[in-house]
């Protein structure tokens, strides 16, 4: 396709691109205090650093962090209630280069709109709660890594704040890399363990691949639009006053580059491999960073830059398919794992896939709502897993734990985990049910290549989700009481009893902080379904204040029922509302989905109860039956081995690079340095060697050489004279 046709096509679709009326963006100078949403974690970082330097042995770092994050949360809530128009808050100048006829400006400034507030509210809110939880969870490390841990959490909250609240793409990039670094810091928290170090490194490097996409997207956006500030970008997009083709690149490349970034950070195919390994970090970190907040940054990025995606409809198809396939793949892997945290990790990858599916099928509302509900129920699941790990000396194998709900002191853990499970499984009338259905139904409504197939894949994934979720709960929390402790027996942990090889091991039940946080977040997970029933400011759309918030932002065009969509994507909500082309089994997709997803979830749940609670031996029998059949054997093996994706990466990326490194090293050493440099350096010596025999100390040979030399000079002189006489210079 040539540049002109692209230009024409984009020019046609421009008027249809809805963005926020950017004239309303307010330059707010009176809200400078909003900066404290960022400064609070930063202050906490400094104080925690001081605690580490002075080897504070109390829980002071935890209280500092909890307090500062609570302040951030408070500021966020105040800010959210104060204004509902987008506003910019300039904090200070960061990178700015000016020249005669242009400039590159990226200030340290905040862009506050409702999408920002939505994200920041659960980031800071859950951050506070999880920090509180960690104050108890990290107790064994008091005086050792305690302050370092909370410093890392503070760094994370600061970076996440920059990511979400930044007013330009470079601020987003700062946060983007910053959360990657915080993640590196916290995954590698147990730095003596080689697995933790390797996992941290892997997370950072895989994320860097995504960051490369983001960096290139920023370059291209700046090259095309001459700005990287959101409000200016959106205005330009609305007006259509920009070059569509930059050199051989066009604006259509932007969404793909952004996508690469989003897939890296949000662990989608093919870059999801770092997330399961990231479970090496302390569990509060897994809950906060690798489930609830950081991994949703990719969804935020796409939602924020949604108008760019609408310029290139195919990119949204790619997003949808990648999301759907990731959801399925991760769910199949999650089914066959035994480590509770890893199951939840794959489940996170899978749920993130749902969110991308939602973005791809034009429901930024569904995606954002799912981000919101998922943040709560996945946090609760991880935190219960953490409580189990904490109490059973690191035991996470679901075959070695059973009947938690019957044990004294573990009831809160068991039942909050149950709440998390029903939400994740999408049990009717839970939060996960509504948010997931918002996405699934749109897959049938929106027209796109194979979106209907994608919808069925997603429904099947929902079934798998219900199964593997309750597999965990039935194994760990239900059934007869039975447990084996893990191998992490802390010296200063259980003062009262000597624990020899697990005999006489007493699991220590969580105390107030953990239980309190579990109950609060579980309640949040249940209450997250309420917005669905709430009324809206705009009558055409559904979904309560969450939909309203998305509708007021740059992601507005992904709201079902929102005014217009670009002509290139046929979204059936445009035009007359209530008339759907898409249908499932002859019903309206939204209505049908309530039933389908309820049934599917129920079946999965039943299967889990059957195989993992009522007749556990059947599960083993099924497994051995599968393994005994040659034609099906590959399936469980591949699932248990995570489809060998890590091995494929090793063979296709790491090994060739390693080989290339060695080839370059050899080339550098033997060809460039050895042959060319040292070879050249040896030349004079070599030349000298030819003449060396002349210096033999024998008078006769010197005489001969002298005579020969004299003769040679005489010859040369004669020749030159002839040359000059015969038409030379003079």
């Amino acid at each position: 396709m040539t540049g002109t046709t692209i230009a024409i096509r984009i020019a046609e679709s421009i008027p249809a691109v809805p963005a926020v009326p950017m004239a309303d963006v307010v330059e707010a100078t009176s809200h400078w205090w909003a900066g404290f949403i960022l400064w609070c974690p930063l202050i906490s970082l400094v104080l925690c650093g001081l605690c580490a330097a002075f080897r504070v042995k109390s829980k002071l770092p935890a209280w500092i962090t909890v307090l500062s994050l609570a302040c951030s949360f408070t500021f966020t809530v105040i800010l959210g209630n104060l204004e509902d128009v987008p506003e910019r808050i300039n904090l200070f100048e960061w990178i700015a280069v000016f020249w005669s006829d242009g400039s590159f400006v990226a200030n340290f400034a905040l862009y506050i709109d409702s999408l920002t507030i939505l994200w920041m509210s659960f980031v800071t809110g859950l951050g506070t709660l999880i920090a509180l939880y960690a104050s108890e969870y990290m107790e064994p490390d008091l005086g050792k890594g305690y302050a370092r841990f909370f410093a890392g959490v503070s760094v994370f909250l600061f970076a996440m704040g920059c990511l979400v609240m930044g007013d330009n793409l470079l601020m987003l990039y700062l946060g983007w890399e910053g959360v990657g670094f915080a993640s590196y810091w916290l995954i590698g928290y147990y730095y003596r363990r080689p697995e933790a170090v390797a996992a941290a490194k892997k997370a950072f490097i895989v994320n860097r691949i995504g960051d490369l996409g983001l960096a290139l997207a920023i370059y291209l956006i700046w090259a095309t639009f001459g700005t990287i500030q959101y409000n200016e970008l959106m205005t330009l997009l609305d007006e259509g006053t920009y070059a569509t083709v930059y050199e051989h690149w066009s604006v259509e490349a932007i969404p793909y580059l952004l996508m690469l970034a989003a897939f890296g950070k949000s662990a989608q195919l093919p870059l999801y491999i770092w997330l399961p390994d990231a479970m090496e970090g302390p569990t509060p970190v897994s809950a906060l960073i690798h489930a609830a907040t950081m991994v949703t940054a990719g969804i935020y990025l796409i939602a924020r830059m949604y108008p760019f995606f609408l310029l290139e409809p195919t990119s949204l198809h790619v997003v949808a398919w990648v999301g759907g396939l990731t959801a399925l793949l991760a769910a199949t892997i999650g089914m066959a794992q035994y480590d509770i945290k890893r199951i939840f990790a794959y489940s996170t990858v899978s749920q993130l896939g749902f969110m991308f599916l939602g973005l791809g099928v034009l429901t930024t509302y569904g995606a954002s709502y799912h981000v919101f509900t998922h943040a709560f129920f996945k946090a609760v699941l991880f935190l219960t897993a953490g409580a189990v790990m904490h109490g059973f000396a690191g035991q996470l194998d679901l075959r070695k734990l059973s009947g938690l709900r019957r044990m004294k002191g573990w009831r809160i853990v068991a039942w909050t985990m149950f709440v998390g499970c029903i939400c994740l499984a999408g049990f009717p009338f839970t939060s996960g049910y509504f948010s997931k259905d918002a996405i699934l139904a749109e897959a049938f409504v929106t027209q796109g290549p194979g979106f209907e197939i994608l919808g069925w894949i997603a429904i099947f994934t929902a079934f798998l989700t219900a199964y593997y979720t309750f597999r965990v709960w039935c194994r760990v929390c239900a059934g007869p009481v039975h447990f084996e402790p893990g191998d992490e027996l802390h010296d200063d942990d259980h003062h009262d009893d000597g624990h020899d090889e697990g005999h006489g091991f007493h699991p220590h039940a969580p105390r107030f902080a953990i239980n309190f946080v579990l109950v609060v977040i579980a309640a949040g997970a249940l209450l997250a379904s309420v917005p669905y029933f709430m009324t809206n400011e705009v009558s055409d759309i559904k979904g309560g204040w969450i939909a309203d918030m998305v509708n007021d932002s740059t992601a507005a065009s992904g709201i079902p029922g929102h005014a217009e969509h670009p002509g290139t994507i046929a979204h059936d909500h445009s035009g007359d509302h209530g008339h759907h082309h898409g249908s499932i089994l002859g019903m309206d997709p939204h209505v049908a989905m309530y039933y389908i997803s309820g049934v599917v979830g129920g079946v999965g749940l039943f299967l889990a109860f059957w195989l993992h609670l009522w007749r556990r031996q059947d599960a083993d029998r099924l497994r051995s039956w599968l393994l005994a059949r040659a034609w099906i054997r590959w399936l469980p093996v591949a699932m248990e081995n995570k489809w060998y994706v890590d091995e494929v990466y090793h063979a296709l990326v790491r090994a060739p690079l390693w080989l290339l490194g060695h080839i370059f090293h050899g080339f550098d050493r033997y060809i460039i340095d050895g042959l060319l440099v040292d070879g050249t350096a040896r030349l004079p010596r070599l030349v000298a060697k030819w003449f060396q025999p002349l210096q033999n100390g024998m008078l006769q040979s010197y005489a001969i050489t002298m005579a020969g030399g004299a003769a040679l000079i005489a010859l040369l002189m004669i020749l030159m004279m002839q040359f000059f006489e015969g038409g030379g210079v003079q």
Partner: protein, 529 residues
């Protein structure tokens, strides 16, 4: 006056070291470098050239007037930034050597101060004679520092360093002499070596082909110094064998003599040739970035790893220069400073490790975080600065260089001869940098503790970093943070000087992009229409 003071004060310090007993050598050196730093700060405060392109701190000294040789000094904002980098690093280098250098103290500190004088001289020189003399003289102290105080393979490293860079700069000397001769021909036998006059002559009266030859000669001399890809092999060896302070100065300042030379001479003197050949140089830089990064990745010697990383990192710096637009040049200038800070600090840290365990082999040593937490914190910090984590200094310069290269194409905000592909491929270096540096951190800082056999801390050094060592590292860390958050300090200060340098380029580049690129860049654009 200030300029003379800056150049001569270190030499006075040398005299002081000679006069004083050996045990006072290090104190004398430290005091001298601190005084020089103070003077440079005073000069910077009083400098009138910030934010405008004017020259300050000027002075001249008639020498061989018959031959037009007049020693001129002076500084524009770019020079002064690099002078400040030098004077800032020197006290730290001296302080960092207190425990590692145990004998031949007077020579050691004497050479360090001599080196400082020469480096400041290079940056302050406003005529070719002083420039070239100082440029070459930096080799001598460095040669002795490596040859006497280096590690096992020091003899070979020092000789190679000396001969390699000397050979390269001889070609540059030839080019300078030819340029001066050509200028004298044009001015009726009136010789001059003043950089300003020669630049004027080169831009106005040299033919394009003559400029191309000039470019080649300058590229050889300065390219070896930077080093640019195929002429880089002296660097890993010299870095690995040099004593800690030597490595710090080498990475921090001496490599910058090359990039500074390119900025000061190549860009203003042969603009037409630069526009023609920028793609080729950029490709060499990109090869250097990727090639050196992959070599870093498989290194086992920590110091060699950091040394090769310099080759990779300076590729970005070169790319920024040849983007030929304000962002690129600012990025490049920032890169010179930032690389000096973060890589210098990494060499300090490796030196501190080496002093304790006498090994640099990552297979033999590891997991030092538990044993040396302060050291580990600094290590991680400077590695992150080097990787280019936003918020720290490395990011700003890397970002500016890459975005400059990306937009330096046909339809860019500022016309140029590079383009998106150059930036896209060079940006792979970002991933590789994370790979090799984090592998290094993962091995020596984290993981289970591994110590080399028979080397346990029996020395006088504390187990973790002592106060002196922390004092060396903290200023570097603070500056890394400050330049990461407030890079305008340098950007605003040098913007006018950069604009002056680029003034000659804008018409050339517009012309080049109107002709849809020169022959070379067309061929390299990969069959683009």
């Amino acid at each position: 006056m200030m300029s003379w003071l800056l150049i001569l004060l270190p030499l006075v310090g040398v005299l002081g070291i000679i006069a004083a007993p050996a045990r006072l050598a290090k104190v004398t050196a430290l005091l001298t470098t601190l005084v020089v730093f103070g003077v440079s700060i005073a000069a910077a405060v009083g400098f009138g050239g910030w934010g405008n392109g004017t020259m300050g701190l000027t002075g001249s000294f008639q020498w061989l007037t018959n031959y037009g040789i007049e020693i001129q000094v002076g500084a524009d904002s770019v020079s002064l930034v690099l002078v400040l980098l030098t004077t800032f690093l020197m006290p730290l280098a001296v302080l960092g050597s207190f425990s590692s250098v145990k004998d031949r103290l007077r020579e050691y500190y004497g050479w360090l101060l001599g080196l400082q004088a020469a480096m400041i001289g290079v940056f302050l020189a406003r005529d070719l004679v002083l420039f070239y003399v100082c440029f070459e003289f930096t080799l001598v102290p460095m040669f002795f520092l490596i040859a006497i105080y280096g590690s096992t393979n020091r003899a070979r490293a020092s000789v190679k360093f000396m001969i390699y860079t000397f050979t390269g700069s001889l070609i540059t000397l030839a080019a300078f002499l030819w340029l001066a001769w050509s200028a004298s021909q044009a001015a009726d036998g009136q010789w001059t070596f003043a950089i300003a006059d020669l630049t004027r002559h080169a831009t106005t009266s040299l033919a394009a082909s003559e400029q191309a030859w000039l470019l080649l000669a300058l590229l050889i001399g300065f390219g070896v110094k930077v080093p640019i890809f195929p002429v880089h092999t002296w660097l890993p060896l010299a870095h690995t064998e040099a004593p800690t302070a030597g490595s710090v100065i080498l990475a921090g300042v001496l490599l910058k003599l090359g990039t500074y030379g390119l900025y000061r001479f190549m860009l203003p003197m042969c603009p037409e040739a630069v526009v023609e050949w920028a793609p080729v140089i950029a490709i060499l830089a990109i090869i250097g970035i990727i090639y050196a990064a992959l070599i870093c990745w498989i290194q086992t010697d920590v110091k060699k790893l950091v040394a090769y990383s310099s080759v990779s990192h300076l590729g970005f710096c070169i790319l920024g220069l040849f983007a030929l637009n304000p962002m690129g040049l600012e990025g490049s200038i920032l890169y010179m400073v930032n690389h000096g800070l973060s890589t210098g600090a990494l060499f300090f840290l490796i030196g501190m490790m080496y002093e304790r365990f006498h090994t640099r082999d990552m297979r033999a040593i590891g997991g030092l975080a538990g044993r040396m937490p302060i050291w580990a914190c600094f290590m991680v910090f400077f590695v992150l600065a080097s990787v280019g984590l936003p918020g720290l200094n490395g990011f700003v310069s890397e970002f500016l260089c890459l975005i400059a290269v990306f937009t330096a194409g046909e339809g860019g905000a500022y016309p140029g001869v590079l383009g998106p592909w150059y930036a896209a491929i060079a940006a792979l270096g970002m991933i590789f940098a994370a790979m090799y540096l984090l592998i290094m951190v993962g091995k020596i800082v984290f993981g289970p503790e591994r110590l080399p056999a028979g080397n346990h801390d029996d020395g006088p050094l504390p187990k973790d970093l002592g106060v002196r060592e922390i004092v060396v590292l903290v200023p570097l860390a603070v500056l890394c943070l400050v330049l990461g958050v407030q890079p305008w300090i340098i950007i605003d200060g040098t913007s006018a000087a950069v604009a002056d340098t680029l003034a000659v380029y804008q018409p050339l580049l517009e012309q080049a992009s109107q002709q849809t690129g020169s022959a070379v860049s067309n061929a390299l654009a990969g069959g683009a229409p």
